[in-house]
Symmetry: C2
Subunit: 313 residues, 2 copies
């Protein structure tokens, strides 16, 4: 009777469920809309139905448990999501216990960035490395810290809020959703790229970006930068500089051998990475004196699924 585990990635848009062998082989994967507007009970049913669809393919095998990556703060001991801007209906709901009861198997909740870091450690760019940090660059910036092969949770499960490393302490720096200003997230997320592009457009500095004024996305800014537009390029340089500042803080703090970046914005690596690496070297004696690696993650948006399954293995 072969063993398997289920990984779930519960996003604000899509719910994805996949089965894995304990050795790391992904068996099958399904994706359905999360449809959060339909309310909590509908969402819980969507999750349980998605999981049953996958477990239905493994009758006669032994399910070791279900790991679920969630975008938000999680009280690990209680299995409760305390704060999730993308899934407000699940806040302060005993999600883990409810799912364990309905599915009659072990369920573990984990922050999605932590799950992604664990996934990269297990089957991605961090294979064979026991200590690493992952920065997930998306709408916001998340962080996952793997120390001694395990997720570093902190005493309430809130560790790894690396999007809120300070990179611009000036008064009047960009406001962050966390209530502070000048966080890494305000300088290097996809949202930050769009904001900086809109600032360029409004200041009349970038005709190249102005042509897309109605529909600025980070992908558009990338395209305009690749066409050679200086202002669009400078946005990625600012992003790289901010990432370099954040990485230097992490390297000086942890002295881990590996720091990974993931997220859709990675396709712009060639635009931001040279400045990022230069800034990190400038600000980290530890980096200059060691063979510390800064690299791209490998599993893309599947990292969280892998890591979620790994939680129960």
């Amino acid at each position: 009777m072969p063993d398997y585990a289920i990984g779930v990635d519960l996003g604000g848009t899509n719910l994805r469920v996949a089965a894995f062998r304990p050795e790391g082989q992904m068996l099958e994967k399904i994706s359905v809309p999360t449809n959060i507007g339909a309310g909590r009970e509908h969402l819980i049913q969507t999750i349980t139905e998605g999981i049953r669809k996958v477990t239905g393919e493994h009758l006669g095998e032994r399910l070791l448990g279900i790991g679920i990556g969630v975008p938000g703060f999680i009280l690990l001991e209680k299995g409760i999501i305390t704060k999730s801007p993308n899934l407000p209906g699940l806040e302060n709901f005993p999600m883990r216990d409810e799912l364990e009861q309905r599915l009659a198997t072990k369920v573990i909740l984990e922050n999605d960035a932590n799950a992604a870091a664990l996934g990269e450690k297990w089957m991605g760019a961090g294979r064979g490395v026991d200590d690493l940090v992952l920065l997930t660059l998306g709408t916001g910036i998340g962080g996952g810290i793997i120390s001694g092969g395990q997720v570093l949770h902190g005493y309430l499960g809130m560790a790894g809020e690396l999007g809120h490393i300070l990179v611009d302490p000036r008064d009047g720096a960009a406001a962050c959703g966390c209530g502070s200003t000048g966080c890494l997230e305000t300088q290097a997320s996809a949202t930050a790229i769009v904001r900086m592009a809109n600032e360029e457009i409004q200041a009349g500095r970038s005709p190249g970006l102005a042509r897309h004024a109605d529909a600025v996305t980070s992908a558009v800014v990338y395209e305009v930068a690749m066409e050679g537009d200086a202002e669009a390029r400078s946005i990625f340089e600012r992003m790289g500089r901010a990432l370099g500042m954040g990485l230097s803080v992490l390297i000086n703090t942890f002295n881990f051998p590996l720091y990974l970046l993931s997220g859709g914005v990675l396709h712009a690596w060639d635009l931001f990475a040279p400045v990022m690496l230069e800034e990190t070297r400038k600000r980290s004696l530890t980096l200059r004196q060691s063979d510390t690696r800064i690299d791209k993650a490998e599993l893309g948006d599947l990292a969280g699924l892998y890591g979620a399954a790994r939680l129960v293995l």
Copy 2:
């Protein structure tokens, strides 16, 4: 036959050696000048003689080993100090092996700030806490991270360089000994206080400080501030603001329950702590949503001795 351990604090000025019971009781302590000008062999002899003086009081007891706190980068596996601005003669010398040979007992080297953090965890302000960060405010700023009850070393033993968290990314920010600019150490160490005071004096902004222009120390700046001098007070507020920025980064990263500060500058707590705590709260959602504590360390300059002994227990 009772057990005991030896803790050594090898400073640039004084060498201190103390014996401890495994339960944490300090038995006796000696202090002798380090006299680094007399060369390496003299220093090694000073260390071994200091240790023998203490072990001589415990004939018939069982020595469990010797822990040594050293100001510098240490390659833990090799027992070598790779970089120590205060003890340049010991750089790249197989110090641990040499001492183990001469003393015929187990020797463990540790960075002094790490040892101090471990000491505070063992018998100081961190008793009963398994996860904490200590910032040592002195000539420079050191850091020690205790995670799961153990020192977090990083893969080369260089973790915890918390004096090099970035708090002023502006071009032209104060230069740091690490090669970067705007590090926490350039804003909140005793050296930084003196530098900021001299800047006030040279700019003609502080008659109160100018009266001490020949001999500015952090203690002098403290005295002038306590007399009500606005510029001297603002120096401690800048220090507090920088510490708040650094602490917020640490709290957002680790979500540990306890962050401790130590060092002689702590006597100015009432001058810098209110700004520090306000800045930390502003910049850390994690702090605002939890009962995270920021507090003074308790063992003063004995923390490193305690922690060094704890290394071998």
